[in-house]
C-alpha cells in the first residue's frame, strides 16, 4: 500500500482516537450529566423503536411528564443532603406531613365555613403546608448540627417519628380533599408541557443557582468535599448543615403539594417505597454518596430516565417486577462502570497516540 496513504490513514485514526478519548474525558468530567443524558436518550430511543404506537402516544408521554416531578423533588431533597456527605431518609415522611396538613386544614375550613371560604384561603393553607416542611427540616437540622448526631441516624429516627405522628393524626386512614387550585395545577399544561414538570424544572434551576452561584451553596459543597478544610476556612458547619436540611425539608414539602395536585388525598403510608427509589435516582444522577459532588441536572435526568424505563416496560407489557430488576441492574452497572473510570486516570493512560507499541505487542 502507498506509504503516504498509510500515514495519513494512521494520522486520521489517531485524530479520531484522540477526539473520542477527549469526548470520553468530557463525559467523565460531568459524569452524572453526560452519562445520564446518554442513558436517557438511549432508553427513550429503544422504547420508541420497539413500541412506537404505545410509547410515543401523547397519553404515555404526559404520564411520564407528570409522574416525574414528585419523585424528582424528593430526589433533589436527598441530593442536597448527600452533597454535604449526609442523607435524608425522612423526605417522604415530610412530604406526607405536608399533604396531610393541607388536606385536613382545607377540609376543616370547608366544613366550618363552606368550601368557597376554604378556596379563598388556599394561599394561606399552602403556606402552612410549606411551614410543615420548614419546621420538620429544622428539627432534622437541629439534631444534626447542634446535637451532632449522624444524619442517617437522625433521619431514620425522624422518619419514624414524623410518619408516626402522621399516623396518629390521620388514624391510619386516607383523608381526602384539597384546594381546587392544586388540582387545577395538576391538570394544566402550558404549550403541551404539564405545569407540574415546569414546577420541577423551576425548582431544579433555582436549586442549581443556589448550589453553584451563592455563598451558602459553595459552603454546602465544601462541607461535603472536605469538612476539615471547610472548618479551617472559617465556614460554620452548623449554619451550613442547618440550611441544608431546611432546604431539603422545603423541597420535600413542595413534593407533598404535588402529591395532592395529582390525587386529592393524603395518607401516612403514601410513597413508602419512594425512600429507597429516590436514593437510587440520586446516586444514578452522579451524586457521590460520600459528599462533595452532585449535579442538579444529573438528578433530574436520572429521574426522567427511570420514569422512561418504567413506562417503557409497561409499553412492552413487562411487569413492575421486571422493572425492579432493571432498576437494580442499572444502579449496580453504573456504579461498577464508575469504579473503572475512576481508576483509569491513576494508570498511565493507554491512549491511541502511538500505534507502534500496540502493533508490536503480539510478538512478545
Amino acid at each position: 500500500m502507498n506509504q503516504n496513504l498509510r500515514d495519513s490513514m494512521s494520522e486520521l485514526n489517531e485524530r479520531a482516537g484522540a477526539a473520542w478519548s477527549a469526548a470520553l474525558v468530557r463525559i467523565h468530567v460531568s459524569r452524572g450529566v453526560g452519562r445520564m443524558a446518554l442513558l436517557l436518550v438511549a432508553t427513550f430511543a429503544v422504547f420508541a423503536f420497539l413500541r412506537p404506537g404505545i410509547f410515543l402516544n401523547s397519553v404515555n408521554l404526559t404520564n411520564i411528564a407528570i409522574g416525574t416531578p414528585e419523585i424528582g423533588l424528593l430526589a433533589l431533597a436527598v441530593m442536597i443532603a448527600m452533597l454535604t456527605g449526609g442523607i435524608d431518609l425522612s423526605v417522604v415522611a415530610i412530604a406526607n406531613g405536608t399533604a396531610i396538613t393541607v388536606s385536613s386544614l382545607y377540609t376543616a375550613i370547608a366544613e366550618a365555613q363552606g368550601s368557597s371560604a376554604a378556596e379563598s384561603m388556599t394561599p394561606l393553607i399552602l403556606l402552612v403546608g410549606l411551614a410543615v416542611g420548614l419546621v420538620l427540616g429544622t428539627v432534622n437540622g437541629l439534631l444534626i448540627s447542634i446535637a451532632r448526631i449522624t444524619p442517617i441516624l437522625v433521619t431514620l429516627g425522624t422518619m419514624q417519628l414524623f410518619n408516626g405522628l402522621a399516623l396518629v393524626w390521620t388514624g391510619g386512614v386516607t383523608i381526602s380533599g384539597a384546594p381546587s387550585a392544586l388540582r387545577t395545577v395538576g391538570r394544566t399544561a402550558v404549550l403541551g408541557v404539564p405545569v407540574l414538570l415546569v414546577i420541577l424544572l423551576a425548582a431544579a434551576a433555582l436549586l442549581a443557582v443556589l448550589i453553584n452561584r451563592t455563598p451558602i451553596g459553595r459552603k454546602i459543597q465544601l462541607e461535603g468535599a472536605n469538612p476539615v478544610a471547610a472548618r479551617y476556612s472559617g465556614i460554620s458547619d452548623r449554619t451550613t448543615l442547618m440550611m441544608t436540611y431546611v432546604i431539603s425539608g422545603l423541597l420535600s414539602s413542595i413534593a407533598g403539594l404535588l402529591f395532592l395536585s395529582r390525587n386529592p388525598s393524603a395518607s401516612a403510608d403514601y410513597g413508602s417505597s419512594y425512600v429507597l427509589l429516590v436514593i437510587v435516582i440520586v446516586v444514578l444522577g452522579g451524586t457521590n454518596p460520600m459528599g462533595g459532588f452532585a449535579t442538579v441536572l444529573g438528578v433530574v435526568l436520572a429521574t426522567l430516565t427511570l420514569q422512561v424505563v418504567s413506562s417503557g416496560f409497561t409499553a412492552l407489557r413487562l411487569s413492575a417486577y421486571e422493572y425492579a430488576i432493571a432498576q437494580g441492574v442499572i444502579l449496580i452497572g453504573v456504579m461498577v462502570l464508575d469504579q473503572f473510570s475512576f481508576r483509569k486516570p491513576s494508570r498511565p493512560v493507554p491512549v491511541v497516540t502511538d500505534p507502534q507499541p500496540s502493533s508490536t505487542a503480539p510478538d512478545k
Binding site: 408516626g164 388514624g171 437510587v280 454518596p289 432498576q327 456504579m335 461498577v336
Partner: protein, 340 residues
C-alpha cells in the same frame, strides 16, 4: 463513681436499655395486672423471633462498617423458592434439610452482595439497594407470585408451624422455633467474641486499612460475611413462613429500616466496629414490647411508630453525647501537661 456508672451502662449502652425495658415493663404491669402472664410473655417471644434473626444479620453488617437493606428480599426469596421447589418436586424432607436448602439459597444471594461490595469496593447501602430490587423482581417475575396458604405448605413446614413447646390455658403458647433461634443467637455471639472471623469483622469495621495491614484478608472476610448474613436472612425468612403459616412472595416488604432502627437502638454504631448481640436482643425486645403492649399504658396503638422514633432519637442522642464527651477528654488533659 462515674466508672461504676459507666460499667453499668455497658460498652454499648446495654445497661441503659435494660433500665428502659424495666421502666416500661413496670409501667405496663402497674397499668394492667394482666400484663404479667405467661401468654403476654410468650407473645412477646413469638413476635421477637423473626426480627431478632434479621437484626443479627444487620448487626454483623453494621459492625463491619456497612448497611444492608437487601435482607428482607433475600429472606422471602429463599423461603418462598424453597417452599415452591419442595411442592413442585413433591418432596417432604426433614425440617433440617428444608432449612439447609433455604440457607444455601440465601447464602448464594449473599455471595452476590459480597462479591460486588468487596471486589468493586462500592458503598454497601447502594449495592444492597440494587440487589434488593433485583432479588425481589426475580422472585416475583420468574419464581412465583402466588400466595401459598397453610393447607398447601409442605408437611415439614406445616408440622413445625404447629409445634408448641409449652401451652398454657388461655391461649398462650411458646413456639418450638425459640430453640433454633436461641441457638443461632448464642452462636453469633460466640463467633463475634471468640473467633478470628468475628474479631476480623470488628477490625474491618473499626479501620479497614489498619485491618489490612495487620494481615486480615479484608475481601475474603467481607465475602464470607455477606454469605453468612444471606443465610441468616434465609433462616429468618423460613422462620417467618413457619410462624405465619403461609408463604407470600409479597411479604416482608419495607421492614428493613425498622430492623436497622432496632439494631441501632441496641447500641451498634453505624460507622462500624461497635455493637453487641446482647444490645441487639435488648433493642429488638424493647421495640416489640412497645409494638405489642403500648395499649396497656393507655396510649393508642397509632402512637407505636412515633414512640419507636422518639426512643431511637433518644438512643442515638445518648450515644452522640457519649462520643463527644470521649472526644473532648484529651483536649482537657492537654493544657495540664503543658502547664507542668
Amino acid at each position: 463513681m462515674s466508672g461504676k456508672l459507666a460499667r453499668l451502662r455497658g460498652p454499648n449502652n446495654e445497661g441503659l436499655l435494660v433500665a428502659v425495658i424495666i421502666v416500661v415493663v413496670v409501667a405496663m404491669a402497674l397499668a394492667s395486672p394482666a400484663f404479667f402472664s405467661p401468654s403476654t410473655f410468650f407473645a412477646l417471644v413469638r413476635s421477637s423471633m423473626v426480627p431478632l434473626v434479621f437484626a443479627l444479620g444487620v448487626l454483623l453488617v453494621l459492625i463491619s462498617g456497612g448497611i444492608d437493606v437487601s435482607f428482607p428480599a433475600i429472606a422471602i426469596f429463599a423461603a418462598y423458592a424453597t417452599v415452591k421447589w419442595l411442592l413442585e418436586a413433591g418432596l417432604d424432607p426433614s425440617p433440617v434439610v428444608v432449612f439447609i436448602i433455604a440457607m444455601t439459597v440465601g447464602g448464594l444471594l449473599g455471595l452476590l452482595n459480597g462479591v460486588v461490595i468487596a471486589r468493586f469496593r462500592l458503598p454497601t447501602l447502594i449495592v444492597t439497594l440494587g440487589t434488593q430490587s433485583i432479588f425481589k423482581g426475580v422472585l416475583i417475575a420468574y419464581i412465583g407470585s402466588v400466595y401459598i396458604a397453610s393447607a398447601d405448605l409442605p408437611t415439614p413446614i406445616n408440622d413445625l408451624s404447629g409445634a408448641h413447646l409449652v401451652e398454657v390455658s388461655g391461649g398462650g403458647y411458646l413456639h418450638f422455633m425459640i430453640i433454633p433461634v436461641a441457638i443461632v443467637t448464642v452462636l453469633i455471639a460466640l463467633m463475634l467474641k471468640r473467633t478470628m472471623f468475628g474479631r476480623s469483622i470488628y477490625a474491618i469495621g473499626g479501620d479497614t486499612e489498619a485491618a489490612r495491614r495487620v494481615g486480615i484478608r479484608v475481601v475474603r472476610t467481607q465475602v464470607w460475611l455477606y454469605v453468612l448474613v444471606g443465610s441468616l436472612a434465609a433462616f429468618g425468612g423460613l422462620t417467618f413462613v413457619i410462624l405465619g403459616r403461609n408463604a407470600n412472595p409479597q411479604s416482608l416488604v419495607g421492614i428493613e429500616l425498622d430492623i436497622i432502627a432496632a439494631v441501632v437502638l441496641g447500641g451498634a454504631s453505624i460507622f462500624g466496629g461497635r455493637g453487641s448481640v446482647l444490645g441487639t436482643v435488648l433493642g429488638v425486645v424493647l421495640v416489640q414490647l412497645i409494638n405489642n403492649n403500648l395499649v396497656l399504658l393507655g396510649i393508642p396503638s397509632t402512637w407505636q411508630r412515633a414512640t419507636v422514633g422518639v426512643l431511637l432519637l433518644l438512643g442515638v442522642s445518648v450515644q452522640a453525647l457519649g462520643a463527644s464527651r470521649g472526644r473532648r477528654r484529651p483536649v482537657v488533659v492537654a493544657p495540664k501537661e503543658a502547664a507542668t
